[in-house]
């Protein structure tokens, strides 16, 4: 298992945002957490990347407990995140944003780095076109691509994607999901958080459904996608 979450509890002040959730992400897969707003999906990702403190439970990455590791050190372990709302450095150029993604890498002057940059720009040709543009002047879709590209520049073993489809046009959503599949097929394990359940389930190996801070269903993405209860609750008119 690349990532194992066990008995995780996270509080916001006195409010329990996550109650005793356990799941794992096998190496090489796409795993999805779906659920309504406020179900605790983003909190789960933020806790894995270290931005939220654990109240109880543990997070193991490659078998080692990383609960006490600072967020800026988790990047070095191989956890990359594209955060909710993209959070590009809007005053920096596309190139500088990508360089920020590689902040912890020591090989920034080598061919390996340039290969990775080429790979990211190959996945997102829009970024190549806009390489010297200020990120803040780009569209939401382009910023989403930049946030994902930036996370990839750290060469993560585990890529955390928080609602990559949020606020995007349907055609663009399709494109983003295709790229996620491609990133995964190139060998990066993906943990995806989505409200767009139909697309996410179709493309993920495993999926877990969160409701008010607890996992209420787990299964194969394909199975959950055709499950009547899941369809009624999450796939509504969405498909």
């Amino acid at each position: 298992m690349l990532l194992e979450v066990e008995g995780l509890c996270v509080n916001y002040g006195h409010i329990e945002a996550i109650r005793d959730i356990s799941f794992s992400v096998p190496e090489g897969t796409v795993t999805t957490l779906i659920g309504a707003n406020g179900a605790g999906k983003t909190t789960t990702l933020k806790t894995i990347s270290g931005l939220r403190k654990i109240r109880a439970g543990s997070i193991k990455f490659e078998g080692k407990d990383i609960s006490a590791v600072e967020p800026y050190d988790r990047v070095k372990l191989g956890i990359g995140q594209s955060p909710e709302g993209r959070r590009c450095f809007i005053g920096m150029t596309v190139r500088e944003n990508l360089e920020m993604g590689a902040f912890t890498r020591k090989d920034r002057k080598t061919a390996a780095y340039r290969d990775d940059l080429d790979r990211v720009l190959g996945l997102f040709p829009r970024l190549q076109e806009r390489i010297d543009q200020i990120a803040g002047t780009m569209s939401g879709g382009e910023q989403q691509m930049l946030a994902m590209g930036r996370a990839l520049m750290s060469r993560p073993r585990l890529l955390l994607l928080d609602e990559p489809s949020m606020g995007l046009a349907p055609k663009l959503i399709q494109q983003i999901f295709t790229i996620i599949t491609e990133i995964n097929s190139q060998g990066t394990t993906v943990l995806l958080v989505e409200q767009n359940a139909a697309q996410a389930l179709k493309r993920s190996h495993d999926a877990h459904i969160l409701e008010t801070g607890e996992i209420v269903r787990s299964g194969k993405g394909k199975d959950l996608a055709v499950d009547p209860a899941v369809k009624a609750a999450y796939l509504g008119g969405d498909v």
């Binding site: 005053g91 912890t104 750290s154």
Partner: protein, 331 residues
């Protein structure tokens, strides 16, 4: 009121150059305010004392190495030593402030107002400690050994006469060589720093943290280190400012930080707080405006002019002349 326009117009080039020299010193100090503000959204009110300690480090080095009897290469070597001493002293004070007066508060997510009060407190403590240096050296029985540095420095606080300050003429304008040194070296430091923040990896880390600390930490930027780095840079620049200030004015005292600090803060706000190029522009505009104004109105109006200018510019442009923050500054 007697407006002396004749003097002003007859001496415009000289007044401008002297104003630029003062402005360059304000700008170097202003960097410390603006960098820390950019990353922490906090005014480091104790930065004035970071500067003041630098002026004393300069003065003591000059006294200890016997600059009064030196000349030529020897004198230049002493001045370089004094520059490094001032930079080191200011850097140590700035880092100490971060460690003692800020980090514990930031770690506990204290409101900004608390950090501001802590800064003002630290400022008074640092200034008074310097004012009481004879008492402090007395506790350790060092009065005799250090009397030159403590007592004489207290009475004269001066290195007047150590340096010759030749003037030269270009096209009939008499220019002080010291003013030229001050302006050129201050602008050179600012350009270097600007390039560092824009181009280097650590500089980008500072900008990223200024813009979005949480996301910057997801990129692997250690926020505490970054904050430390901004205090360090601010301290080093204040040390350079202290060195140039002493070259120009020869004298210091334990309260010298206050007015310089307020002026530098004004320069930072004038240019757009959080903006490095704004600090340079704000400093130069402030220095020149002050010097022009005092030529026309009389020197007792100098400080009034500085702060009236600040209020006027903020009424028209509340974000300052250049107005963007460190994080948003484009490459």
């Amino acid at each position: 009121m007697n407006l002396n326009f004749e003097f002003f117009f007859n001496n415009l080039p000289e007044l401008t150059i002297t104003g630029l020299a003062f402005g360059a010193i304000y700008a170097l100090i202003a960097l410390g305010y603006t960098m820390v503000y950019g990353v922490l959204q906090l005014i480091n009110f104790a930065h004035s004392e970071v500067f003041m300690y630098g002026t004393f480090a300069m003065l003591w080095t000059i006294m200890a190495l016997g600059a009064a009897d030196a000349n030529g290469v020897h004198l230049v070597a002493i001045l370089i030593a004094a520059l490094f001493a001032a930079m080191a002293m200011s850097a140590v004070i700035a880092l100490g402030l971060e460690r003692i007066a800020y980090r514990p508060l930031i770690k506990r997510n204290a409101p900004r107002l608390i950090a501001l009060i802590s800064a003002i407190g630290a400022s008074f403590v640092l200034a008074e400690l310097m004012g009481l240096r004879d008492k402090i050296s007395g506790w350790f029985g060092l009065d005799d050994d250090l009397s030159d540095y403590v007592q004489k420095a207290k009475i004269n606080n001066s290195m007047a006469g150590v340096l010759e300050k030749p003037r030269f003429e270009i096209a009939g304008v008499s220019i002080s060589s010291i003013d030229v040194i001050v302006i050129v070296s201050a602008v050179a430091m600012m350009v270097l720093l600007d390039q560092f923040v824009r181009r280097s990896r650590l500089g980008k880390g500072i900008r990223a943290t200024a813009q979005d600390p949480e996301t910057a930490s997801l990129m692997g930027v250690n926020p505490t280190r970054t904050i430390q780095m901004t205090f360090l840079i601010g301290g080093l620049m204040a040390g350079v400012a202290a060195f140039l200030y002493m070259l120009k004015l020869d004298a210091t005292n334990y309260q010298v930080g206050f007015l310089l600090g307020v002026k530098a803060f004004t320069a930072a706000v004038l240019g757009g707080i959080g903006n490095l190029r704004g600090a340079l522009l704000g400093g130069l505009v402030l220095g020149v405006a002050e010097n022009w104004g005092q030529a026309i109105l009389g020197s007792e109006w100098r400080d009034v002019i500085a702060f009236v200018l600040l209020v006027l510019i903020l009424l028209v442009r509340p974000t300052g002349l250049l107005g963007e923050s460190l994080g948003k500054a484009r490459a």
